[in-house]
Amino acid sequence: MARYAMVTDLEKCVGCLACTIACNAEWEVPTGFARTHVRSTPVTGTFPHLIQSFCVAQCNHCDHPPCVEPCPSGATYQGEDGIVRVNQSLCIGCGFCVDACPYDARYINPVTKKVDKCDFCSLRIERGQPPACVATCTGHAKFFGDLDDRESDVFKMVYEKGARRIQSADVAPGPNVYYLGREAQTSLVAASFPPRRPKLPRAGEFWSRLVKPLVVAAVGATFLGQAVAFFQQLRAGEKEFED
């Protein structure tokens, strides 16, 4: 089974945002949201001795994804290939996984009211195409592949060139998005965008947020059922009349 990973070469990334837009286009992400973000670190140091770097952020497809357990409906799951996905038909949009993600990689799609995030462009890789962000990257800075394949670019970058992942002693879910670059650069990125401690739902919140969508769904279903019955009756009535 494959072990997928993404590597950004920070030396080559110029922060051009092509990845963000290509991803938005591929997945029809509503305007104002994104599955792939380009973040810029603050400029650090004192003029003229300065450093700055970009960080392309997305779902890290962690080895131990903190988003899976809080999902009450089983929509968020990890495949055998390591890719963390959201089954849209099961998602109830409660947002627990959004809070649980240490990398702020998830959002609730305001159109579908369901959670969305990077899935390493599963449908593209299935077709033999690279993920949209990798395909378009103007700086040729993004790499995708299988860490179990010793010949892959990502294997070499991670195990031979020392690409690092962003996690801390506290929060170490084993992310599979890596960053390659000068030590000063990767350290700056790691310091600027540390993973946050997953926010787990409090007991009360758990039920209120979980129950609300279910109640809405239930009420909706009831209403819909009644409406359908009503119209059916209406049609039936008309039919009768016509007959």
């Binding site: 110029v14 450093i51 970009f54 449908l123 700086g139 040729h140 892959s152």
Partner: protein
Amino acid sequence: MRNDLSRRRFLRGTAVAGVGAGGASAASHSPAAPPGWHGATRTRTVATNCEMCFWRCGVLADVAEGKVGKLEGNPDHPLTRGRLCARGNAGIKLLYDGDRLKTPLLRTGTRGEGKFRPISWEQALDLFAARLRDIKEKYGAESVAFFPHGVAATFFSTLMKAFGTPNSAEPAFAQCRGPREVGYALTFGQGLGSPEPVDLAEAKMIVLIGSHIGENVFTSQVTAFSEGLSKGAKLVVVDPRLSTAAAKADWWLPIRPGTDIALLLAWMHVLIAEDLYDKEYIARYAQGFPDLAAHVREFSPEWAETITELPARQIRETARAMAAARPAVALHPGRHVTWYGDDSQRARAMAILTALLGAWGRKGGIFLPTAVTRGKFALPPFPESKRGRADGAGTRFPLASEEQGVTNGLIEATVTGKPYPIKGWIVYGQNVLESIPQRAKTLKAISQLDFMAVVDVMPMDQINYADLVLPEATYLERYDMPAIVESAKQPYISIRQPAVEPLYDSKPGWWIAQEMARRLGLEAWFPWKDPDEHLAKIVEPMGINPDALRARGSAEFPGRPYIEDRLPSDGPLFPTASGKIELSSPILKQLGFDPLPRYTPVPNPPPGYFRLLYGRVPVQSFARSENNEWLDALMPENVLWINASVARDHGLKDGAEVILENTDGARCLPIRVKVTEGIRPDSVFMAHGYGSRSRALHRAFRKGASDTDLITRVQVDPLMGGTGMRVNFVRIINGALRNGD
């Protein structure tokens, strides 16, 4: 074709097969996938050229049910190989922008008021022809001026020449690349062309003088830049601001703005004084070396330090590093280089330095173009103008391009009526109010016109001043003159062809130009009935099948990029009068200019003022793309970079709103500050392409600030008429105080 593309495997080994085999695989996941463009309903894929800027990258438009669903880079395109920038990826949002110009419009209100009524194409084209005839009868054909932008303007250029006016000018020359074309042509006998042939991918050292690659994105240039860096090229970035490129540099030289020529002279001084230049190359190919050596003797790094505020030690160190990397030194000639009015001379200095490093025509330096023969229709000769050009190209500005013209020269002529009146303006795809400085002067010129017509896709500010507005179809809906690019290692032809039918009542430019020609009795210059016939003629001598070209989008030809590859049929290596690289320029001497570049002192900002610098962000092209839904969402406003010490002095925190006022009292719209150590304390910086004044651009209207509002002064380059625009000083007015200020 699509299948062929998909077969380009990117994953090694069995990775892809592995996905399908798993239980929780992507395949089994598909039915519950989020919405998105998955190509399931794709009916066809059209290979075409992008026009979100003028680099003309290769695009594949996936079409389903009559709509473009997604744009992808075309992996077969010789220049861009499947990559697209943010703007290229967002092209759909230009195609489906509800603010597009939808129908021909006739002005009903006063100029600038923005009141129009829709008219038919028949009426619009008849009116256009009648008005042009009026001007021709009353003042002569030359009294119509043409303001084009981009290759798509070719058909209109033909129309204007056939009509009898030589007065055509685009900002690509006098507001952009003109000085470098002139400076390099004076030195090497030929300019650079676009895309500029800089061998970034093979360089051992890359030198950027103000070029902010990464923020200024041309896809293949970014790819080559990062390839060069990843292969170990050293990087020198000369920029008053910590640009994206500067943050990657081995040496960032935050130079005092306007003093680049001093730095370049000092670099030459070190190369010659320390005997580090390419002696063999200079002896073989160049003339004027003794004059150059004598000229730069006094320009030591210590001399330059006092001017540039860069340490002499650093100047020496970088010069030596260049020498160690030569000839593989890619000294980028820049693109927008109209800065201080001595810009052609700065380009000369860069060209001379390139020659000293032996880098012209060498791997890792500047490579050579290879000519591509194209088919041409036998057209009648264009009528000759007895009165000549009105913009000063070839006369007042002796080295200005007569093909590209001097926009500001045409505006000046329109205002003054000298050398003769200009009474009609035809604007195509150019944003004359944002791309040309001194807006007040441009507006004054417009107010004196009898007729102004604008052909555009979007309702830019300028349409409000036009008598007639003609809606052009977007690049995804039209055929254009193919791009024939010689300044690539593999020269190529790539085409633009419609992916979908034009929306609304918009029409392709070729059709508009042809219909205008028909009404003006100029059909003889358009002897083709449709794009197919046009394309067939152009590719005739290339030995390629037009259908195959349409399917693949492009075709490449063998290139001879380096000196050792050249054939006698390529012509002389250095097509100067002497046949050699002219280090000291006989042409400049003859014209009464400095034959060798010289540093002219630049003033410091007056107390309390800062030098206004401007540049690019990756989501904007010129002032054309600001209304794009996706791009707007990523960077809805520009920000003003100010040094942290300046922020302290002004009591400003990051994100505070300010306005700027220049020394002439001109102000911009409010803009938020970005407080950073990454800019010199004597300068401020903002991105160009914001602060639109067009109400018809619903997303872009009044978002951010326009640098053009503050560019009321220019320093004109006496060689070629370019407008140096970094000569304006601004003070910062704290937003909270500004009402009472």
